[in-house]
């Protein structure tokens, strides 16, 4: 919330001043929107370029790669039984040939500074370019294809988990905030420490219990091998394979999230205007809807939006534990292989999503929260 409120000026209480004339508001909104768009775009450019620099350790990765290429070329030549016994000059020549081919392929013969600009241009234009080492599951070198093949699996698993978790916890939190101090409330508070362990940790246990011991659910993967022919069976198989990872994600954070929301709602429930509403004898559902949910809506929307785009990056360890073919594992492979275009490709999309979401949120705030005003406004 502080991130958002820092860039919004003129926030006032529910009974703020009179609005300006419509043309003036439009001008202000347009001006503000333009500034925000430019600022966010610049942020994306700087962020992506920093990612390029970090992913390449400021160019040091070139040295690592060249050393690895030489090592691999030497190994290849050493393993070639036909080359045994040749003069060393010929063997060196052969190694140099292999090294040169690979250096040219990866364009390491161009200075990193120049290549970094190519990475940046490819990224910002969303052409994303070609991967340097990785291929997509179906064998393509196009970064776009590599990401797109993994996206559905990630979206399916994490969006399902996220939506379940988000809406489920909000309703439970609201429920508990009305029953502060009840047994259920205390039980949830007591279970909050379980969220200290990451979801993959629960995943390992769930696999042990339900796959290894009880043998009722699969160990992992997205679908039965070989995948069923019919769409219905395929879908059912995917659902079955989702049970354990979704459960792991849920168990890993459900209690902390409920606790967090429940505390949040409790704070808002203690506001003077809520007390006033209670004094006026309004029904609890009206109070909840108008006086608690409405003012907390910007926070809920912000959390929801940012959480939703966070799905993009997947989860490295959880996907590995459940052998789930998602973006998290892909990113891990890309980082391990120093495949800059793939890393940048994933990051730039995230950056654009984030910038766009932030941009959109500014507008949404103005719509849902009457206290938010754009630009300077004189009180009448």
């Amino acid at each position: 919330m502080s991130f958002v409120s820092g860039v919004i000026s003129g926030a006032e209480g529910p009974s703020g001043g009179r609005r300006r004339a419509v043309p003036s508001t439009l001008t202000r909104v347009a001006k503000y929107t333009g500034y925000r768009a430019v600022a966010l775009l610049l942020t994306v450019v700087v962020g992506v370029y920093l990612t390029i620099l970090i992913a390449n350790m400021g160019g040091y990765v070139d040295q690592i790669r060249i050393a690895q290429i030489r090592e691999a070329a030497g190994g290849r030549v050493a393993a070639d039984r036909q080359l045994q016994g040749l003069p060393i000059s010929e063997i060196r020549n052969r190694i140099d040939q292999y090294v040169e081919l690979e250096v040219k392929r990866l364009r390491l013969d161009r200075p990193f500074a120049l290549r970094s600009l190519t990475y940046l241009t490819d990224a910002l234009s969303l052409s994303l370019g070609r991967a340097e080492n990785l291929t997509s599951d179906s064998g393509s070198r196009q970064v776009r294809q590599i990401l797109l093949e993994r996206l559905p699996a990630t979206l399916l698993l994490f969006a399902t988990s996220y939506l379940l978790l988000f809406f489920g916890t909000i309703f439970v939190a609201l429920f508990l905030s009305r029953r502060y101090g009840s047994f259920l409330d205390r039980a949830v508070v007591a279970l909050v420490p379980t969220s200290v362990a990451p979801s993959w940790f629960y995943g390992v246990f769930l696999i042990l219990i339900f796959a290894a011991m009880l043998k009722v659910l699969p160990f992992g993967g997205m679908v039965t091998s070989p995948p069923p022919q019919s769409a219905l069976e395929y879908g059912l198989s995917v659902l079955k394979h989702m049970i354990l990872p979704v459960a792991a994600i849920t168990i890993g954070s459900v209690f902390a999230t409920i606790y967090s929301w429940r505390t949040f709602f409790l704070i808002y429930s203690a506001e003077d205007y809520v007390e006033m509403a209670k004094a006026k004898g309004l029904s609890s559902s009206t109070i909840e809807r108008r006086y608690i949910l409405r003012p907390t809506l910007p926070t809920i929307i912000t959390t929801f939006s940012l959480g939703l785009i966070g799905i993009w990056t997947g989860s490295i360890i959880l996907e590995t534990v459940f052998n789930w073919p998602g973006l998290g594992r892909l990113l891990f492979q890309a980082v391990s292989a120093f495949d800059t275009p793939v890393v940048i490709g994933a990051e730039v999309i995230y950056a654009y999503l984030l910038a766009f979401t932030v941009f959109l949120l500014d507008i949404v705030y103005a719509l849902v929260d009457p206290r938010v005003k754009v630009g300077e406004e004189r009180k009448q």
């Binding site: 690592i64 690895q68 039984r81 036909q82 052969r94 291929t135 179906s138 995948p227 590995t320 534990v321």
Partner: protein
Amino acid sequence: MKVFFQLPAIPSGLKARSTYLIAVLIFMLIFNLACVPKTSPEAQPGAKVTGLADKVIFVEEPDSAKAVRMIEAGDMDVYASGLTDAELVRRIKSSSVMGSETSYGLNFELTLNPVGPTFPGTGKLNPFYVPAIREALNWLVDRGHIAEEIFGGLAVPRYFALSSAFPDYARLAAIARAQEIKYAPSLAKARAVIDEEMKKLGAVMVAGKWNYKGAPVELIFLIRTEDKRRDVGDYVATLLEESGFVVNRQYKRAAEASPIWIGSDPAVGRWNLYTGGWVSTIINRDQAGNFNFYYTPRGRPEMLWQAYTPAPELDRIADTLDRRDYKTWEEREQLMADALQLSMKDSVRIWLVDTVNVWPRRAELALASDLAGGISGSWLWPYTLRFTDKKGGTVRFGSPSILTEPWNPVAGTNWIFDVMVSRGTLETATLPDPFTGLLWPNRVKSAEVYVQEGLPVTRTHDWLSLSFVPSIQVPPDAWIDWDPVAQRFRTVGEVHPEGLKARTKTVVRYVDDLYQRHWHDGTKMSVADLVVGLALGFDRANSKSAIFDEAEVPSFQTFIRYFRGARIVQEDPLVAEVYGDLTYPDAEWIADSAAGYFYSTVPWHTLAIGIIPEKNHELAFSSSKADRLKVEWMSYIAGPSLPILERSRVQALNEGFIPYPNVVGKYVNAEQAKERYTALGEWYQKRGHFWVSNGPFYVESIHPVEKTIVLQRSEEHLTVDARWLAFTKPGIAEVKVSGPAQVRIGANARFQVDVTLNGKPYAAKDIDFVKFLLFAARGELVQTGDAESVRDGQWRVTLTPEQTASLQAGANRLEVAVVSRLVSIPSFESVTFVTLPR
């Protein structure tokens, strides 16, 4: 494989039905057991077996611990990755439902920086400049401790540049054993040498630490962290610290360490020692070049290797062995023995252990695993994969990675896990023995190898003959070069009108039914399939060709350096002659190399549909060319390549395209070409890919995102040669030595050596040799000799009165080394006896 039963009519009445059902069940059980293929080392030539696995489902599972649990739970049958985790291996070994295979291809060592005595870059002292200090590390480290404690028993000590699981070690077993005893761990000995040499360097011991010019002697130790080398590094670092050095432990992953140890000038002094590791995925039968590779500047061009200054004698021997510049096998053995000892004196690297990798599987599953490459390195798995308790069935094969890179038959993926799967779909001319590395004929009937006199080549198997001849003239009609413009081969007569000689000639006779076999798309093999590969190889490496690929040039240069011509002598049955200058110590390898020239695992028409987009720069066979042209790397099995390949197929069908018409066109006409493209089109419609070959399995379906490949046994491979089943279990000899507990000096002494395999006598014909080593009371080697064969499974060592007279009173040890012809791993056993005065 499917077997259908015709059941008789069911008798009426419950009791009768029960009896009937029991009878049927018993019958089915007996039938099933009868159909289950048994391991049959003595299988008659040409004998066939049925009942191998019908279907194989490959799935990706990167987590080895989970894979083991899946095997235990019955969700997976075999995992294609060698495990080195002692806890997991204990779990496998103690399970009644799991079995395992073993491989030995990976080893670890300490790479030492030999620059010095001080680093020009830092001025700091480098003790490893001194060969004696390097040699002393052999006494300092306890390889047995590393193998047993750090690797939990999943490693065996290694002292030399020769793998303890490969044939050269077995051949030199007696000498190697003596050296191993000489370099047995001895802290006192190691420290005595280090103390003496450090003082010579001008270092002084101050408060338990060596100081040089007023500062402690620091060793920068690059310790790899991805595997057990982290623990090995810590262990060695502690030993060095206890010996008076300050050790700067730098923990690094491969990518971080690589620019330092191999990518930088060792004279800069950024490191003193490094935990190195090397891997071999095949059984290397000729490791003679290892001394040149590991100990001399000729090994590699990197600056580290250029810093090596081997003793002149080691340098000369290593060079001689590398060039195979010896006349006889005996001469080679002597050179190897000398190199073994001299390399220990040099010790620019301290060999530590050969690791033992364990490959888990279900107990009821059997398959051939390679002693070096394990299951993923095995060529014979498709010919041996079966359940021992039932016929047929589906095997679920887990693999750490699947579909890692695009598959194409020219320059596609070479990832071991992809290659392992694709091997199941190919039928090669020869197949490597997973236990010895020698080649066995598969689609070859016999071969005649002619070698120029004076070259040290031997033959083991009788499917080929070996003859030595004064000189070998290459016939003028043999193909030797390629004309990319005319798209035809040039002959030896054209290129070398003065005549051409070769060092070897191999006549390969292929099986009689070669052209009766079908490709997976139903088309029949023809001569056209066998010649297209050679033309394509020449064409891709020629800069004037429309499909030139510069990435092909280095390997082609190697090929052309030794290639002296090839020709088809007879088309049906196919007989081909191959001439070359490359020789190997084993004639089997020469024959194997020759057999591949006129043999193909891919039909010409599937290559043709790749040649078209390669020419049009729409796709590229190699990764390098694809990246250069910014097109897709060609994949015959999935992805964006498939529509392009399909378009090429349609174009080829419409045009009756025949690649290299001056070569292939002699064996195929336009009508036959259209039939082939039509069959391929039907295959693509049915299977969704273009991966067509002739192996035991075909690719039934591919699921890239789900990381699953399904292979189905081909109709033509429902029966396989029974001889392959013998390669399911390595025949590592079990040895027991017995004899008198007391021997009087100057008297005869006889010891019995029992050599068995699975409790049965080991056939004498399968034993290469049984040697004995006699160690006196103080551990010095006093005698070596050969044991004599008594009968199958029994050998005798006789110590003559002269030999016992050379012993002094006390406890002595007789060690026996048994080397089998069936497996490259030698077996050792010893017995202790006491000598009494005369």
